[in-house]
């Protein structure tokens, strides 16, 4: 009897502690908007975002600095768009810039490049449908031009998969792509890996980076099979449209970061022609 009481009090005690943790977590996850306006400031070629004269900080507590003006302004807009609560999970630009600065995964450019090269063999675009003839035709029509562009742009030959086997990736292809990826700086590669994970396809991401496809179009191609099935089974807004909106905003955010870093690069190179 006494044992039972002891046990039950232990159980309630345990329940209480988890409850406290839950509320704490929730409090953390939905912080209220504590600022009125947002802005940007410039300090020696770097841009910072301000929330009512306070500087925006990264998760480890350092002031967030970006090298590009439009990017800083877009982050300020992102914070300005928060209404009652701050929903950090949907603020991709802030997240990408903070991750690039803090680097919580302790990655470097080579790690990310290797990740891409290994990803290439499992690229969505290399797996055509085997069972459904109609879907296969659609994939050939929509994916074909992108694959063709990819081979032409990088001057490589890439086979598509047969069955479930990984298609071979030539050593030459790996070398060319590695050189291409390494020409970007770390924040850009970090953003690119975010985009690749959203699209599940390095080739589609490259097509976006090289301005062949808009984020909206690339996401459509990445979700081609889903879209095909939707024609038959109907669309559910809280699953399909939510997914589409999320992926597109992710890809667009990563592209904004990549393109602004590239722009800076060229701007810097042009400013000092004598030094080169």
């Amino acid at each position: 009897m006494f044992q039972m009481i002891g046990l039950s009090s232990k159980v309630t005690g345990f329940l209480k502690t988890t409850c406290i943790r839950c509320t704490r977590y929730q409090n953390y996850a939905t912080r209220k908007r504590f600022y009125r306006g947002t802005g940007v400031i410039q300090s020696d070629n770097k841009w910072e975002v301000t929330l009512d004269h306070r500087r925006l900080k990264t998760p480890i507590g350092k002031p967030l600095t970006v090298t590009s003006e439009p990017l800083a302004r877009a982050i300020a807009v992102e914070w300005d768009a928060q209404t009652e609560h701050i929903t950090l999970p949907s603020m991709h630009l802030t997240a990408l810039c903070s991750t690039a600065q803090d680097n919580p995964g302790k990655l470097n450019k080579h790690d990310i490049t290797i990740h891409f090269l290994e990803y290439l063999a499992t690229d969505t675009l290399l797996y055509f449908s085997q069972e459904q003839e109609e879907l296969r035709l659609l994939q050939e029509k929509k994916w074909g031009p992108v694959l063709e562009w990819f081979q032409k742009r990088f001057n490589v030959v890439q086979e598509v998969s047969k069955g479930l086997d990984l298609p071979p990736v030539a050593a030459e292809t790996r070398a060319i792509l590695a050189r291409y990826f390494l020409s970007y700086d770390f924040p850009a590669l970090n953003a690119m890996s975010f985009g690749v994970d959203a699209l599940k396809s390095p080739i589609l991401m490259l097509a976006c980076v090289e301005r062949l496809l808009e984020p909206k179009e690339a996401v459509l191609l990445a979700r081609l099979e889903e879209e095909y099935q939707l024609l038959q089974w109907g669309r559910v807004p809280w699953a399909h449209e939510l997914n589409q909106a999320e992926l597109t905003s992710r890809v667009a955010a990563s592209l904004l970061v990549i393109h602004s870093s590239v722009e800076n690069h060229t701007a810097k190179a042009k400013a000092t022609p004598q030094e080169q």
């Binding site: 009125r36 802005g39 807009v77 768009a81 909206k216």
Partner: protein, 108 residues
């Protein structure tokens, strides 16, 4: 030659402005720092966006990407709030759903 004042570019500009109007906390659009910046950029690349060895359509592509970002992150939030679970229903609500009454409710 692609100019930023071509019709598609202006359609993108209007799209961005409409998104910013929906998301901005300031009442007047002219107070928004991003709007001022975007207008400056559009004026600067009015004749051509091929300054500074930029690729054809580079600025317009950037504008389109930004519009995609603003539009779809807003849409994501909207769908999320619309379909988000509101937690457990109260006993009264559940009773009403199945057509029962609570013991303390007045009888008809």
């Amino acid at each position: 030659m692609s100019s930023i004042t071509s019709k598609p570019a202006l359609v993108t500009l209007r799209g961005i402005l409409s998104e910013l109007r929906k998301q901005s906390s300031s009442k007047k659009l002219a107070d928004n720092q991003m709007v001022v910046y975007i207008f400056n950029q559009y004026r600067r690349y009015q004749t051509t966006d091929q300054q500074h060895c930029k690729a054809i359509d580079e600025m317009h592509f950037k504008a389109k990407t930004y519009h995609n970002y603003l539009h779809f992150s807003r849409k994501y939030k909207e769908i999320n709030t619309e379909f988000k679970g509101k937690g457990e229903r109260s006993i009264e609500e559940t009773a009403r759903m199945v057509g029962f009454k609570m013991p303390h409710d007045p009888k008809p």
